[in-house]
Symmetry: C2
Subunit: 205 residues, 2 copies
DNA sequence: AAAAATCTGTTGCAAAAGCAACAAAATTGA
DNA sequence: TCAATTTTGTTGCTTTTGCAACAGATTTTT
């Protein structure tokens, strides 16, 4: 998926796409009701963040290369302030859905490639969301952990998985209390289901 | 989104799309690893169903008009048998992702409309999935319920919401024990947060 | 219209999870 | 490099949830 090629070749008269750079810590975009912005992360990492009414910071999603975000994909309402913040330096493509939605009159090739590529990215996003739903649907912390490890194991084709984030963030991702999760990891180890070394988990069953 | 128009006008030499009819109870499709089928529900209702290793039936998703499904959107592995079953008579468009992915040589107009329409449907799907994730991320049954009611209330612009499915299925959707959910609904009523009449919930705060 | 199946509502009890608070280890950054 | 911050690991206690088992109401099927 070479978005730079698309960007360089697309007919500027028909599609308005911006490429912007952000430094670590910068706000890439605020989610605005009734706008439909689409952002594609070309390089770097970023988080979708919300502050709830009690002022607690929630990391709702995190993004890597080829991830797609923007309020187009998220139910936005005025109660929540949602924004995406760079956790590393980032290159991002930014445009509005209505600006690319329909084929331009010029019938330009790269516009069509853009739409097809976008479709592919959104499908990937949907698959990831379904994995997340699958995990969150589990009733116990144990099942959530095992289900998460199992998905990592399948995608990496290995019984030893490397956690892509800290245990603190894992608890957030599974949406459980961290200390309760730690307790359950300990139980899984003593009961022989897994072993653990730093951020490597080995599945033993 | 008029898929019949697309179907009637699309160049049959470039895109293979089938329209099929199903009776209530029929299996619309089994999810197969490494295939990438896409189905669009034109009319009727259907459920995505899994039987886990203990033989328990799980309703994972349910589909209405304009919903899109197929293994393209779901992480499939050989451990689970996944299939979609009609809960009412259905008309369904069925095709393979690779058959429509790239623009045909003929450059036919309706092929492009199909891809754009598909993009729109997948974006909608993604927004719904995010709502579901939002709800499932809540830690307590009470928060899940209130969060669900609040989303229904926002989309219907009314403080009185009509539950689109039975309480039994609501418990499934929220992924909680039904009796515990009933208890919590009762608590919400006695504490004055909501009132309830049949399948109508009124939000009182 | 009767029988079967599903859904709603309720409860006691056991298990699991959340909360709070703390210390030690590891990482970051000034 | 040393101080500050974040992460990991642990535990006692409380609250919430799940489970099991009912009975009654409602809906569907025959």
């Amino acid at each position: 998926m070479d978005f730079n090629e698309i960007l360089n070749n697309i007919n500027e008269n028909c599609v308005k796409i911006q490429k912007k750079n952000f430094k670590k810590g910068d706000i890439i975009t605020y989610y605005i009701e009734n706008r439909k912005q689409i952002c594609i992360l070309i390089s770097g990492k970023a988080d979708l963040i919300r502050y709830d009414k009690d002022g607690n910071k929630d990391i709702i999603e995190n993004y890597n290369v080829n991830d797609i975000f923007g309020e187009t994909f998220y139910p936005v309402n005025t109660n929540n302030e949602l924004f995406v913040q760079a956790t590393e330096n980032c290159e991002v493509l930014i445009f509005l859905y209505e600006d690319i939605k329909m084929k331009c009159k010029n019938n330009c090739k790269y516009h069509q490639i853009l739409i097809s590529s976008l479709l592919e990215l959104v499908i990937n996003k949907s698959v990831h969301q379904n994995s997340r739903i699958e995990i969150l649907s589990k009733r116990t912390i144990r099942e959530k952990l095992l289900s998460y490890f199992s998905i990592l194991s399948t995608t990496s084709s290995s019984k030893t998985v490397i956690l892509p984030f800290s245990l603190t963030n894992l608890a957030d991702y599974l949406s459980v209390d961290r200390s309760a999760m730690m307790r359950e990891i300990k139980n899984l180890i003593t009961e022989g289901f897994i072993s653990k070394n730093k951020n490597k988990i080995k599945i033993l069953y």
